[in-house]
């Protein structure tokens, strides 16, 4: 949604469209794991986290991709999860 807004804000700059399209297509290209595997992982993550935090499980997004290491000197595979929180259950108490 945010990415879409970006595109509209820049009007018709084709390079911005190119960049956003590339980012999306590469997420799929890089995720050389099966969709079934990702779904399994997703449901397990939801199960565990829901014990502690109320999350919006329909909005949960996980991807396997490549990123730069913390030291910035290497490119490493990474599991990226975006987990919107609805409510902190008595977390940490």
């Amino acid at each position: 949604m945010l990415d879409l807004m970006k595109i509209f804000n820049h009007g018709n700059r084709s390079k911005d469209i190119a960049r956003e399209r590339l980012k999306l297509v590469l997420v799929h290209d890089r995720a050389n794991v099966s969709p079934q595997f990702l779904e399994m992982l997703k449901s397990e993550i939801i199960k565990v986290i829901s014990n502690y935090i109320e999350i919006q499980d329909d909005e949960l997004d996980i991807q396997v991709t490549r990123t730069r290491s913390d030291e910035g000197d290497r490119v490493v595979p990474a599991l990226i999860a975006n987990i919107p929180i609805r409510n902190m259950k008595n977390a940490g108490k």
Binding site: K15, A18, R19, R21, R74, V75
Partner: protein
Amino acid sequence: MSEVIVITSGKGGVGKTTSTANIGTGLALIGKKVVLIDADIGLRNLDVVMGLENRIVYDLVDVVEGACRLKQALIKDKRYDGLYLLPAAQTKDKTAVNPEQMLNLCNDLREEFDYILIDCPAGIEQGFKNAIAGADRAIVVTTPEVSAVRDADRIIGLLEANELRNPLLLINRVKMDMVKRGDMMTIDDIIDILAVDLIGVVPDDENIIISTNRGEPVVSDMKSRAGQAYRNITRRVMGEQVPIIDLDIEKGFMDKLRKLFGIKA
């Protein structure tokens, strides 16, 4: 200490052969001893780009099959001291060589040369596996287009899966006027997306075609912008810190734009 560098790409026609010829010639101009291997078996090209096509007697497959000695197949470039070409076979296919043979060949060449540059065929099949087998480092060439960058990403993943970590990116055929009007991805866009380090940027330049017509690498043309770009890349290959000129132009422009609209960087 010698180094084996493979010049590769996902998409074809993005400038691997041009880059191999120019970086190799650039290194020779600095005084290094260099051999260029054309690993694009069946689609021999580096010889014509280098202007050495009339001097071929033996080729890479002859060497690997033992039909000639390595020294016999190496073509000495008489214009540049220390520069040699090992041409590809034209009548064989990519299965005529295997990765182990390539590795052995590279190791033999290490005895004689400072730099061994390998011009890789396009694609991810046997030819690619052969070309990378003996390499210490990889340079991935792309143009600033969606399809080329996407395929570059695939190649970077494959190189890393084959233990060739931290490949360096060469962005070729950048058109500054298109970048300025927002119709071509910027250098920053591309390195941000691919998460790799940059070895250099080469502008789209007619001089490349003119010099290829003549069989004289553009790197020896002191007046052309592409030649300057390849001379800078050559120095970076040798480990020198050379600022990216095209990036500076771009930044200057963006700064002006921001000022114009009162946006803070």
